[in-house]
C-alpha cells in the first residue's frame, strides 16, 4: 500500500489530502486514484508533476508500502 499525498488544486479535486493504494508502480497507483477520485482529479493530474519521497519521479518507477507519492499541480508560491 503506497501512500498518495495531494496538494492544492489536486487535493481539492480529489476531496482528500491523502489516500492508500495497492498499485505496484507510480502509474498503477495514479490509475487507481483516478478511478477513486474521478475526472476533475484526472484533469488536475494531467498538468501535475509527480514526486516520490520528496524528489521528482516518473510513472514506471516501482513503489512499495513505505513510498510516498506526491501530486504537485503547477505552483504559485511567492
Amino acid at each position: 500500500m503506497a501512500r498518495l499525498v495531494l496538494f492544492g488544486p489536486a487535493r481539492e479535486a480529489a476531496g482528500a489530502s491523502t489516500g492508500e493504494f495497492g498499485g505496484l508502480s507510480i502509474d498503477e497507483v495514479l490509475r487507481e486514484a483516478v478511478a477513486r477520485y474521478g475526472s476533475n482529479f484526472a484533469d488536475v493530474l494531467s498538468i501535475s508533476q509527480i514526486w516520490m519521497n520528496g524528489e521528482p519521479s516518473r510513472g514506471s518507477v516501482a513503489v512499495g508500502p513505505l513510498d510516498e507519492i506526491a501530486v504537485l499541480p503547477p505552483i504559485s508560491g511567492g
Partner: protein, 169 residues
Amino acid sequence: MEPSPSLDWVALSPSSLSADELTTWATRASCGAVVTFCGTVRHTSHEHDDIVALEYETGEEMAMGRLREVVAEARTRWPRLGAVAIHHRTGRVELRETAVVVAVSSPHRHEAFEAAQFCIDAVKDCVPMWKRELWEGGSAWSQDGRDILNVAEVPEVASVTGVNGAHDT
C-alpha cells in the same frame, strides 16, 4: 522564530514575517550591501482586483528541502555572498502583509541584487506551494500556476556593466 546561527536561514511560518529581522540578521561587518525583497499581498491578480487575502498551502518537508536547495544554488553561483535568508508564510496572509521575504548580504552590491532576485525567482519556480486568492464573497486557486523547475534550471539575471563604481559597495 530563533535566528539562525549560520549564514543560511530558511523557514516556513504560519505567522507574520519580519523583513526587518531578516535585514538586521543579514547585516555583517564583512558585507557592504544587504538586499531585501518582500513579496506582499496586493489587491490585483490576473483575475481579480478586490483581493483581500491569500492562502498558502504547502508540503512542509518538500518546501524546506527546496528552500535549502535554492540557497545552496545561490552560493554556488555567487560564492562571495554573506548571509542568505528566505522565509515564506503559510496559511492566510492579509492584504499588504508579507508572504515571502528574501534577504541577501554581500561585500559588493551587484551580487546581492543578483542573488536576491535569483532567490525569489527560484522560490516561485521551484518550491511546492499553492496559493488561493480570497476576495469578498469568494475564493479560487491562483491562475498563475507554473510548472515546477529544478533549482539549477532557474535563469539568473544578466550581470551589470556600470559606467563606473560597479565594484564598490
